[in-house]
């Protein structure tokens, strides 16, 4: 696997392969309480749950944090104004109700829960919310400032109500507040620790931060101050960082951990064969695909232009050639060959699990290499069309690259694989120094998060250099619209446009595969793909 975190690595623009994913969809391992999902006895209070994470989270400061895996830990210790439920609907968490948007869409009013104190005993109120939101927007180096760019100011209405004033209507804001930008930090702890807040974060959550050993573990313990502490069973959760997927799996098998994040598709059969383990599987909101450099001549965020001779190819110049490449790829075969059928084919940026998806948004161009050759012939392109593809350096990325290479060859393409270390690859992509790049995105609850930054002209992650005024218009209208049906229709139109232009050939969606010991029940993985332990616990023997 790759980086993290990155893999990711720094994790998050994800090269294929184990670096992974925010996920979605519903079905899960149950909720807490009576339904323990394991078919065993009742959950008993107490115990330490050990969880194997694939990457090390970065700084545990909601304002500065940037890794996907960090959100898993935040989920236990830092609640947000809003959250998602099992069906990906936004629901209030620290807010008392859904926001009330002004008719012109230029402000939203949020009532705050009145029964909440932070882990250090400081009461939660509108003032605390304003301090956190302002810090997210203004702190030097904040990773939240771009997400909250639409916010003009935050005002106190009364002790438990804030009003957020916007500089333009931005309907995805509620979903933004259901992520790190909506995490509220203890004002007393902020005042005391300042920039060091991330070394000992204090928020509201079923658990509070206890200890961190760099590159080894993060420990959180049950917070007696939590407003819903009676429903929290576990005394402690220890997140262990185990980068290698085989090692993670071995630790689950040997009982060193009870929960394994990101089970490798190759380990699924072995896991399912065991009586004492079970698999939680849910769709991802993100995607993996091939980004094609069609106009990134001057670097990302710069005006698109003509590619230099060494990068230009029929693929970059002609959308018909890109369609031929897409037709030569058999997504289901890739899924079977590389991921043993554990993932799902994808043809667009919106997950079928999203309420904003539609039949149109899931349409796919048919796999037909013969037709692809015909298209190339009619376009007057000499075959094979030679294209370089930047891929990750791990085994799975290579397997995927080779599958693409073999299939594309049947459709008249000669793909040259160019394995590139993750950090270097990101740099080359930003500079436009590539022809094609196999990369993906972890996914966001609101589809705008999967679309706007990648497909709007000169957007920060538009490494393809794609620019189509019609696409820009549809994206802008969809983010201003508050009606779900209207947005769904706009995204359907956008999907059809993207099918013609193909700046990105979407290939597949990863699934979140979580391994859980039968000794544990109540582990939840939904919506945003985070592991949730608020109602998890050990079952009575």
């Amino acid at each position: 696997m790759s980086a993290s975190t990155l893999r990711r690595r720094a994790a998050v623009l994800l090269v294929t392969g184990g670096l992974a994913v925010t996920a979605a969809c519903s079905p899960i391992d149950s909720s807490g309480g009576d339904d323990n999902g394991a078919g065993q006895g009742q959950i008993r209070p107490g115990g330490e749950l050990r969880v194997a994470l694939a990457e090390e989270p970065d700084i545990l400061d909601p304002t500065l944090a940037r890794t996907l895996v960090g959100r898993v830990v935040f989920n236990a210790i830092c609640e947000k104004l809003y959250d998602v439920d099992a069906d990906l609907n936004l629901v209030p968490q620290l807010a008392a109700d859904m926001p009330d948007f002004a008719a012109d869409g230029l402000s939203m009013t949020i009532p705050i829960r009145q029964d909440v104190v932070f882990a250090d005993g400081t009461p939660l109120n509108a003032e605390a919310v304003k301090i956190s939101l302002d810090r997210h927007r203004e702190l030097e180096g904040s990773a939240r400032s771009a997400e909250l760019a639409s916010v003009d100011s935050v005002e106190l209405v009364d002790e438990f109500t804030v009003q957020i004033n916007l500089n333009a209507p931005f309907s995805p804001l509620t979903s933004v507040l259901a992520d790190r930008a909506g995490m509220i930090m203890s004002p007393a702890a902020l005042a005391e620790k300042g920039e060091d807040f991330g070394t000992d974060p204090v928020c509201v959550g079923p658990f509070r931060f206890e200890n961190r050993v760099a590159q080894d573990r993060i420990e959180v313990v049950k917070d007696p101050n939590y407003y819903d502490a009676d429903t929290v069973y576990l005394d402690k959760v220890t997140y262990l960082i185990i980068a290698d997927s085989t090692t993670r799996f071995n630790n689950l098998l040997s009982g060193e951990v009870e929960v394994q994040d990101r089970v490798a598709p190759t380990d699924v059969a072995a896991l399912e064969a065991r009586d004492d383990l079970r698999l939680i599987s849910s769709d991802s909101l993100g995607y993996q695909g091939i980004t094609i450099n069609i106009g990134n001549a001057n670097g990302v965020t710069q005006p698109p232009g003509e590619l230099p001779e060494d990068l230009a190819s029929p693929l970059s110049r002609n959308p018909v050639v890109r369609r031929a490449l897409e037709m030569s790829l058999d997504r289901e075969a890739i899924n079977q060959a590389v991921f043993l059928g554990q993932f799902s084919p994808a043809c667009g940026p919106i997950s079928p699990a999203s309420p904003f998806s539609s039949d149109v948004a899931q349409t796919c161009r048919e796999h037909n290499p013969t037709a692809a050759l015909d298209l190339l012939d009619r376009a007057g392109v000499e075959t094979p069309v030679r294209v370089e593809m930047m891929i990750g350096t791990d085994a799975q990325a290579r397997r995927l690259g080779e599958a693409i290479q073999a299939q594309a060859a049947e459709g008249g393409f000669e793909i040259v694989l160019n394995p590139t270390e993750f950090s270097a690859a990101l740099d080359l992509a930003d500079q436009g120094q590539f022809q094609t790049f196999q990369i993906g995105w972890s996914g966001r609850v609101d589809p705008d998060g999967n679309i706007a930054s990648f497909l709007t002209t000169q957007a920060p992650l538009n490494t393809s250099g794609y620019s189509n005024p019609e696409a820009d218009r549809l994206i802008a209208e969809a983010r201003a619209a508050t009606d779900v049906a209207q947005r769904r229709e706009l995204y359907a139109q956008l999907h059809e446009l993207l099918q013609d232009d193909l700046p990105i050939i979407y290939l597949y969606r990863q699934r979140n595969l979580t391994g859980v010991s039968d000794r544990v029940a109540g582990v939840e993985v939904y919506g945003d793909g985070l592991l949730r332990f608020a109602h998890a616990g050990f079952v009575e023997e």
């Binding site: 180096g141 070394t199 590159q215 090692t247 040997s254 950090s423 990101l426």
Partner: protein, 318 residues
């Protein structure tokens, strides 16, 4: 001896300064921008610029180097770009893990390697030598990661007698520490054991055919006294050199073992730092590694004179 030591210390200091320059320039020559890597999915140009400014990455290189050295002289290696934790503390936590693993592996390697080497030299052309050679060949040719995974499958999953992962310090709980480090040390030690075995064997063969051994036998000493008291002691010079050189390699070679057994050690720290372009952390680990090599080499040179008094460090009066 005193002058020799002084000279070596000055040389070491110069080497360290050079090391800081090389690593400082080296990490910055790597392709990949730490600010971009750090920005992750939030790769907004403004965010990237803010990160550069926050960590001083927008300053000219000489200014960055000056600040780095200035902080270093105050014992401050900076903070990790990724976790925000102090580099010094992070290294201080990781180093004992790898050192304990390395020492344990070394003990394993010396016990197996010297034992097998002596047997192979004394019982030549017999099953004992073939057996020892076979062990050496296996030790050299079986990859660490495979051996590690196999051991976990057997001793942690099929017959759960040892923990599959984790670390307990020997100073906290020696028994648990032994249980946690046994498999990693065997995995890491077998490769080195093979090297030590071969070196011991050839040095022993040479020693056993030397005049002083014949004299010793003529004096009527027992086989054990001849082998252990005379031949082995003289052979240990070579073995000590090898072990000294390999200790550094053990520390850097512990990466794979640390990954497999989830030991929060130095090798894992290094790899993670490089992948995330965590400049302060890379600089910290390389500097500590360089210092480690220098100290070990110095100690090995000094140890020669203890094992073989005929060697006078720095002297010309042999």
């Amino acid at each position: 001896m005193g002058r020799y030591l002084l000279r070596r210390l000055v040389e070491s200091a110069v080497t360290l300064v050079l090391a800081t320059m090389v690593v400082f320039a080296g990490v910055r020559a790597l392709p990949g921008d730490p600010a971009r890597t750090l920005a992750g999915e939030e790769a907004d140009p403004a965010a990237i610029a803010a990160i550069r400014e926050k960590y001083g990455l927008d300053q000219p290189l000489p200014v960055q180097y000056y600040r780095y050295v200035e902080n270093l002289l105050h014992g401050d290696m900076g903070r990790s770009l990724r976790t925000g934790l102090p580099v010094t503390e992070t290294i201080a936590a990781a180093l004992p893990v790898t050192l304990q693993l390395a020492v344990f592996s070394l003990v394993v390697a010396v016990l197996i390697g010297v034992g097998a080497g002596v047997v192979a030299a004394v019982r030549r052309r017999g099953p004992a030598e073939w057996g020892a050679n076979a062990v050496a060949l296996l030790g050299l040719s079986v990859p660490n990661f495979w051996l590690g995974l196999m051991m976990i499958l057997v001793f942690a999953i099929a017959f759960p007698v040892l923990p599959a992962s984790g670390f307990v310090s020997v100073f906290e709980d020696p028994v648990e520490s032994f249980r946690h480090l046994l498999m990693p040390a065997l995995v890491l030690g077998t490769g080195l054991a093979a090297v030590v075995m071969r070196q011991t064997r050839s040095a022993m063969l040479e020693a056993l055919s030397a005049d002083y051994v014949r004299t010793a036998r003529a004096k009527g000493l027992s086989q054990a006294q001849v082998v252990l008291g005379h031949a082995l002691r003289n052979s240990l010079i070579v073995v000590t050199t090898i072990v000294g050189l390999q200790l550094g390699a053990l520390i850097s070679g512990a990466v794979v073992t640390e990954q497999i057994f989830v030991l929060p050690g130095f090798g894992k720290l290094t790899i993670d730092a490089v992948f995330t372009r965590d400049y302060p952390m890379i600089q910290g680990v390389v500097l500590v590694t360089a210092a480690g090599y220098i100290v070990i080499n110095l100690l090995v040179d000094l140890l020669y004179s203890v094992i073989d008094p005929r060697i006078r460090v720095g002297g010309g009066d042999l």
